[in-house]
């Protein structure tokens, strides 16, 4: 069934191009964001240990709270991605429909 798909023609459709654009609009900034957010933890821990060792309440310090926030960050980014991906799925179905016509 897929042997007779004209990939070049499909790739040239407006539907496919807008799918790629939509994906890039989410994935590129999201990836940059999570990488920057993640690496600021070892960077700050490594090069600003006084700041990170500052106590917030009791012995709980900035370093630990920042580490905990990474878990929340990962879950939130994943949740946002799943929401956005539902839109990508719809757009992909349009492309496929065009290919089988």
């Amino acid at each position: 069934m897929t042997r007779d798909v004209d990939w070049e023609q499909l790739a040239a459709t407006a539907e496919f191009k807008s799918l790629l654009r939509a994906k890039a609009r989410f994935v590129v900034p999201a990836t940059i964001f999570f990488i920057v957010y993640y690496f600021s933890l070892p960077l700050l821990v490594g090069y600003a240990p006084q700041l990170m060792a500052r106590k917030v309440f009791g012995v709980v310090n900035v370093a630990y709270l920042f580490a905990l926030s990474q878990f929340l960050m990962a879950w939130v980014v994943a949740w946002l991605y799943v929401r956005a991906a539902a839109g990508f799925d719809r757009m992909a179905r349009d492309v496929v429909a065009k290919g089988s016509r």
Partner: protein, 521 residues
């Protein structure tokens, strides 16, 4: 002590029943290699989590936090955030464009023989290091736990090896997956229970718990008694190179996970990319919850059991089981130990099937025999035979290395190779039109060799003073080198066919058109 043996025998009985059930149920290559691509998102998600939460996670992180405090928690963070790379970049295109292995995606538009051969080498390297680490850990654990029952390190290693061969050879991916699911559920249950007991010890007061973390007393290397705030960063990663090492570790964790063959093959076990996506989300929920709880396991062991006691009773890998003993007595100790053992067993089975799949599918069928099975069922038969060899070789190496081998560097090496060799070529092959065969082979080779060489020159092998390369984690150098190798190799050659086929790969990867379908619906 025999409680642990009884519980572990119970786990073995359940897993052998699963294997028998899976063996009756499945036939054919897609069933053996990919569980018929018919797993549900939650099933695969739990199995991904199970594959991931190895001995290094459960015993290792608890041990590092118990001994060096906060720095151990950095592993927990990296191991979860790594799944964003899997979710956002790798999982869906891989499911859409591949069949059984990581190299499928590379072979799609590149010259299949060289990239599959290199892909198989890299997969087997990562798998072997990871596996030996698990087996040495398991052997050491068992010979400590069951020392009264006469089970030695050698017996334990052979036993684990034989069981993982049985799961894989007879039950294939379906059995391996369900063993993984059972183990993941047990591991989560054990971890939650242990965390509740830790909090209970402090009268369910977070304030009291964290207060105790602020004043951990132990005997230092000079024999003096010191009191340390274990929330303080950089107790493990000390100057002058600690900060760089921490960043290097982070790079290997974040980029290595998306290049681990035994994780990647899991995305072929579901019906489509949407299900693959959902299974990553399931995995992230379970893995994240688990790693947050390492706070209680690690700091609990540091404050309740104490570093000195753990050091005198089996070393830092025994932190979690000893914590269980202190809080719940011998029965709970046995339960947690059996879980640790089950964890290792399930992970080595997952590693064995991904290594066998890569050898049979990439190397045997595609490199040696031009992509065709000479006889029906040959690929599965070769994979089964490979599983015997993989198991046998791992047993031998684990016995030769012995129970005192430094296993931490083996796991670091696995992640470093995955991040430096596998990830660059996967990403470039999916997103860079100009990328070609020379680039892939060059990238895989540079990443593999540079991480191996840097580890060989690191403090893990040569000791703190003799090290030529000052970091334990080579990622900060080897990952850029892997990317560089791939880019340079590409730019030195031109391969019009690979560039042409990029269009097809891109449409397939992004839409799922023409993707491998589930077989048993």
């Amino acid at each position: 002590m025999s409680h642990a043996l009884v519980m572990f025998l119970g786990f073995i009985a359940v897993t052998l029943w699963i294997t028998w059930w899976a063996a009756r149920k499945s036939a054919g290559a897609s069933a053996f290699f990919a569980a018929g691509r018919s797993l549900k998102a939650w099933q695969n998600g739990i199995a991904v989590a199970g594959d991931y939460m190895s001995a290094a996670s459960f015993l290792g992180i608890a041990g590092i936090i118990a001994f060096q405090g906060y720095d151990g928690f950095m592993y927990s963070v990296g191991w979860l955030v790594a799944y964003l790379t899997v979710l956002l970049i790798v999982a869906e295109p891989l499911r859409n464009a591949g069949k059984y292995t990581m190299a499928d995606v590379l072979a799609y538009r590149l010259s299949p023989r060289p990239v599959r051969a290199m892909g198989a080498v890299s997969t087997l390297t990562v798998g072997t290091f990871y596996m030996i680490a698990q087996m040495v850990g398991a052997g050491a654990l068992v010979s400590l736990l069951l020392k009264d029952t006469g089970i030695t390190y050698q017996t334990a290693v052979v036993g684990i090896g034989v069981l993982m061969i049985v799961y894989v050879v007879f039950g294939g991916m379906l059995a391996t997956t369900w063993v993984q699911i059972v183990k993941a559920v047990l591991l989560m249950a054990g971890t939650i229970l242990l965390s509740i007991l830790v909090l209970g010890h402090y009268g369910f007061s977070f304030g009291a718990f964290f207060e105790a973390i602020g004043h951990v007393t132990y005997t230092n290397a000079q024999g003096a008694t010191v009191t340390q705030d274990f929330m303080t960063p950089l107790l493990r990663y000390t100057p002058p190179y600690g900060a760089l090492d921490l960043i290097s570790l982070g790079m290997a964790l974040i980029l290595g996970t998306a290049g681990l063959p035994h994780i990647l093959v899991r995305f072929y076990t579901v019906s489509d990319a949407q299900t693959a996506r959902k299974s990553v989300v399931w995995a992230m929920f379970i893995i994240g919850s688990f790693y947050i709880l390492t706070t209680f396991l690690g700091f609990g062991a540091a404050t309740i059991v104490g570093r000195d006691f753990i050091a005198a009773n089996g070393g830092n890998n025994m932190s979690a089981p000893l914590l269980a003993q202190a809080l719940g007595g011998d029965l709970f100790f046995a339960f947690i130990s059996a879980i640790a053992f089950a964890t290792i067993l399930a992970v080595v089975a997952g590693l064995t099937i991904s290594a066998s799949t890569s050898f049979a599918h990439d190397f045997w069928t595609n490199v040696l025999h031009g992509g065709r099975e000479r006889r029906e069922g040959e690929e599965v038969r070769v994979a089964r035979i490979t599983a015997f060899f993989v198991g046998g070789i791992s047993i031998l190496i684990a016995i030769v290395l012995g129970p005192t081998a430094n296993v931490a560097f083996l796991v670091a090496l696995a992640f470093a190779v995955a991040a430096s060799a596998n990830l660059p070529v996967i990403v470039l092959s999916l997103f860079w039109r100009r990328f070609n065969t020379a680039g892939a082979v060059c990238g895989l080779a540079t990443g593999l060799v540079s991480s191996l060489v840097l580890i060989a020159m690191s403090p893990s092998i040569l000791g703190r003073d003799g090290a030529i390369f000052p970091l334990e984690n080579p990622g900060i150098v080897s990952i850029p080198l892997g990317f560089l190798g791939a880019v340079v190799g590409t730019l030195l050659t031109r391969e019009p066919q690979a560039e042409q086929k990029f269009t097809e790969l891109s449409v397939r990867a992004n839409t799922g058109l023409g993707a491998e379908r589930a077989s048993s619906h």
